[in-house]
């Protein structure tokens, strides 16, 4: 996106002028982003509906879009709002079950804690730990690391002020760290058992 800011601005302006085709290009460009964000917030069952409704509402809201301001956070705020409205209260998002692609067979040498690359078992454990976090923590971590949203986009998606994104993220990371420590302790205990490789 960084390479083509003018392009986006042009498209947005054309869409603001009522050009539905320009808008379609924008939708196509950001549908992954919008759908995934909706999916993080509302869960799998409602994400498509929320994202679609968000795009339609954004079209009608375009005359109120401030020319020259970034489009993505503006769009995400609308989509995320739709997603939150659809979110069924009290439901655990079990369908956040992301899958870890099976690749990189773990070698014989155990990776050191400093190694950047995790083996697939470690990835699964980490993902499981993220999935067990509370909604707020899980959403902020998912938006930041899995969807790679910017701070402004995270604020829009999570419905909070930009200034609170950072603190929210660091609190979530702290809780993830604690969860991982527990997991590690449990795993260490398991490996001490005979035949610990399961």
């Amino acid at each position: 996106m960084e390479g083509r800011p003018l392009d986006e601005q042009e498209l947005v302006e054309q869409a603001r002028g009522g050009d539905a085709r320009a808008y379609e290009v924008l939708v196509r460009r950001y549908q992954d982003l919008a759908f995934r964000t909706a999916w993080v917030i509302a869960g799998g069952a409602d994400a498509e509906d929320a994202a679609q409704e968000g795009f339609v509402k954004a079209w009608y809201a375009l005359p109120r879009f401030r020319a020259g301001s970034p489009f993505r956070p503006w769009l995400l705020a609308i989509v995320a709002n739709e997603a939150r409205n659809r979110r069924r209260s009290g439901r655990r998002q079990d369908d956040l079950a992301l899958r870890v692609a099976e690749d990189r067979p773990s070698g014989d040498a155990a990776p050191s804690p400093e190694a950047a690359a995790l083996d697939s078992e470690q990835r699964r454990l980490l993902l499981a730990a993220v999935g067990r976090l509370g909604d707020s923590d899980r959403q902020v971590i998912t938006c930041r690391y899995f969807l790679e949203l910017s701070e402004a986009e995270m604020a829009a998606a999570l419905g909070c002020r930009r200034g609170t994104v950072k603190s929210r993220l660091s609190r979530a990371l702290e809780r993830l760290r604690a969860a991982l420590a527990e997991q590690d302790a449990a795993a260490a205990a398991a490996t001490k058992l005979p035949g610990g490789e399961r």
Partner: protein, 279 residues
């Protein structure tokens, strides 16, 4: 210590992100476009629109400017068609059918021509002989070898759009080839240089049904149901959009750099038979 661990966790999360399988995104663009097409356009500030339109037009090259101007005419026509039935009749007569066939930069499209046997002019361009059409376009014009069809009853050529030209071959309705509700044409075959874009399938799939078939071993698409839009990339790399003319079923396929389109109220099997027989 705590800081260090957090950095590890962040690194691990980044690493995890690279191997995550995110859920596949549904085709929102097509769904959204379909909804916007059905819905009225929102009120826009007129002055702003004009200003931007001009600025945008000014930034475009000659070819694209023409294309945009043409598109504007099409949209205007489409708007009128939607607007009021009496006007719709008038515009449909003037432009051919459904506002399609406006030739960019060319002479205004002729009014529906009454030929012996009925209206065959779909606003497709200049009516010429088959021989002249062959001279005017940059590709060999193919004809169906299907028994009983014979030579087309009318041939139209457009040399301006798309680049390389376009030929439309029209066969009059006959037994086994029902007339379109709009004209006396039963079969329309269009040939031009260009490639169907992957996106057009998604777009039309909203309004009708699309089936993936093969013609001559190449992928082809068979559309049935509601009239659809058809988007393609012409040989100059411009996006173009068209709509069906006969409101029939449509088969679109590719042969080399040529795109062929068949429209008729016939079954998929019959359409495929005609397509396979093109020589």
């Amino acid at each position: 210590m705590s800081q260090r661990e957090l950095a590890d966790i962040e690194r691990a999360l980044t690493d995890l992100a690279a191997s995550l399988e995110l859920p596949p995104t549904p085709d929102l663009a097509a769904a959204v476009s379909a909804r916007l097409e059905r819905a009225p356009a929102p009120a826009r500030p007129a002055a702003g629109r004009r200003r931007w339109a001009w600025r945008w037009l000014g930034g475009l090259g000659g070819w694209r400017r023409l294309a945009v101007a043409g598109l504007a005419v099409l949209l205007l026509a489409a708007a009128v068609l939607v607007a009021s039935p009496p006007t719709r009749e008038a515009v449909a007569r003037r432009l051919g059918l459904r506002g399609i066939g406006v030739e960019l930069g060319g002479p205004p499209p002729p009014t529906a021509t009454t030929t012996p046997g009925g209206r065959l002019d779909l606003g497709l361009g200049r009516r010429v002989s088959l021989e002249e059409a062959r001279r005017r376009v940059s590709f060999p014009v193919l004809l169906p070898g299907t028994a009983g069809l014979g030579q087309p009853d009318a041939v139209f050529v457009s040399e301006v759009v798309p680049p390389g030209g376009r030929v439309d071959l029209v066969w009059r309705a006959r037994p086994g080839l029902p007339a379109s509700p709009f004209t006396d044409a039963g079969l329309l075959l269009t040939e031009f240089k260009g490639q169907p874009t992957p996106e057009f399938i998604k777009k039309v799939a909203v309004a009708g049904q699309v089936e993936f078939v093969e013609v001559g071993g190449e992928p082809a698409y068979f559309f049935s149901g509601e009239p659809h839009f058809f988007t393609y990339l012409d040989s100059a790399g411009n996006f173009r959009e068209e709509q069906t003319r006969l409101a029939g079923n449509t088969l679109i396929w590719q042969r080399g750099d040529l795109t062929l389109r068949l429209e008729a109220q016939i079954s998929k099997e019959e359409a495929l038979r005609i397509a396979e027989s093109m020589r």
